[in-house]
Amino acid sequence: MTGNVLIEELGPRGRRRVRVGTGLATVAAVLVLFWMYGRLDGNGQLEAVRWTDLFDSATLRFLGEGLIATIRAAVTAGVVATVVGFAFALMRLSKSRPVRTLAVGWVELFRALPLLLMIFGVFFIDTSIARGRGGDALLGTFWSVVVALVLYNSAVLSEIFRAGVRSLDSGQSEAAKAVGMTYWQMMFVVVLPQAVRRMVPAIVAQMATLTKDVSLGFVIGYEEFVRRGAGTANFGDTEVTNFQAYVSIGIVYFILVWAMAGLAKRLEQRQSRALKVAAADRDPDQDLDLGAGDTLGAGPA
């Protein structure tokens, strides 16, 4: 690789070694692919009809509805979580101690619990209230998923907003105070507009993670993309098996999340260019660049 400062410019022996390594790695990769092909073929997974049945119009419609359900839950939860997270970030920056404690408690609690448990919790509490009243469930599966996603993501987003506020140069708030602004004027006029803008890439990246997490709505029967995908093998008169179904939904999900992560990455690059111009004289140290850029992707949970 060029541009890798960890490694000296290669001499003839080094170049030969790299060539040998490349050859061996390529052979190994080809062997693995060959073995996979054998496995697929031997189990009849490559028969055309198993894959073409996925593109049957009824199947596509069935899957498309699931994808729309996933996007609907992601957009709803994303927007509500952003608003709630913003509110909690403000509470955490408040001067009143009880308000701050409440916000810290909320954030720490909901960041530390598995999302899946929260989905179950919201859903079963909703169901038990409905049973107690003898009526329909208040939330149902869609809102149960959304509420759980909001509980978790508002906690994460409020930390992102807070980090944005803290990343601002203290000169900004000092200047605001110097011109006689009150605390809230300073926050809303000077600090927050800059902090929020600075955090837009991180927020978009969190939305990519959230979109991945909508799949967990599966467990309470929300008919989202993965649930529909899992049903494809048993849907109608189809030759599709689990392998095709899960691999296909994995690929679609990959494209969706990868595109969102790519957007976050581009926003971040644009921002760091803008910020670097201002900070150029302060930070002469450039980071090591190992050639391959960051791999696009969302968070782990």
């Binding site: 927007v79 507009p193 599966f218 467990v219």
Partner: protein
């Protein structure tokens, strides 16, 4: 300052808008004539559209055991049948508001439901059964065989079937998934030896497996299926008479063999009809 507050509100409104779009699951067309007795020439029947062997909506109309029973009853009453999808959650409502005249939709008779609607029949006794791989390699004949650490049994977490299994076979080695079709897949891959739940669901899975799975056909619980009609409707006793006649002349058995019989080898005896109040 004002703008900063307005943005979250706008976002919230947008979220509600997005959430409201497509919140229309399960709404079926309601022609709301509101009559308690069959009006004119058509008998409006609520049935399942997604229960293999019992009620499935196909391009050629609704087929299955429930659908054929409904057609037979309509015929005997001298009326045309008009099907309407009934899902578990709306069966009572449909009868109460006259959307349908009768419900034949894998509808279990119980006391809670009897407070809202009347039941003709029962016309079939469902029950929890066991599905195994074709040829029954482990020789499972009933619930007692599942009560062993050597036989892996699959069912759905949180289901009545799991509760029944736990109480009737406390030593069973249980695997749970969120759907019965995953249990069937797990059995196909040799991860479990048996799947247990209502025989109606198992029959559907066996039907879809193209002969890979079969039922033990030894149910160990009783769930009588009835034909729901509006409370106080005179239809109930009429239907009971028609059913009794179908039992006696073999029509019922014929319908069973033509539909469920595709998967089940044993045709059961028809259940005794509850004629109280007729």
């Amino acid at each position: 300052m004002k703008r900063m507050i307005r943005i979250p509100l706008l976002l919230l409104a947008f979220a509600m808008f997005v959430a409201a779009c497509g919140d229309d699951d399960d709404t079926s067309s309601d022609d709301g004539t509101g009559g308690e007795t069959p009006s004119g020439e058509t008998l409006k029947v609520g049935t399942k559209y997604d229960q293999p062997l019992f009620g499935v909506n196909t391009p050629d109309g609704v087929v299955g055991f429930d659908a054929e029973i409904a057609r037979f009853i309509a015929d005997e009453l001298g009326m045309e049948v008009a099907f309407q999808e009934a899902v578990s959650a709306n069966r009572e409502t449909f009868l109460e508001n006259g959307t349908v005249d009768m419900v034949v939709a894998t509808y279990t008779i119980n006391d809670e439901r009897k407070e809202q609607v009347d039941f003709a029949g029962p016309y079939y006794i469902a029950g929890q059964d066991i599905m195994v791989e074709a040829g029954n390699p482990k020789g499972i004949t009933g619930i007692d065989d599942l009560d062993s650490a050597d036989i892996k049994t699959c069912t759905v977490e949180g289901s009545t079937s799991l509760a029944n299994l736990n109480s009737m076979a406390p030593d069973a080695a249980v695997t749970t998934f969120d759907t019965y079709s995953k249990c069937a897949d797990a059995m196909g891959q040799g991860r479990v030896d048996a799947v247990t739940t209502d025989n109606v669901i198992l029959l559907g899975l066996a039907d879809e497996s193209d002969g890979a799975y079969e039922l033990v056909e030894n149910p160990f619980t009783d769930e009588p299926y009835g034909i729901g009609v509006a409370k106080g409707s005179e239809l109930r006793c009429q239907i009971n008479e028609i059913l009794q006649a179908a039992y006696d002349d073999g029509t019922w058995a014929q319908i069973y063999e033509d539909t469920v019989g595709a998967v089940a080898s044993v045709t059961p005896d028809p259940p005794a009809i509850d004629n109280e109040g007729c």
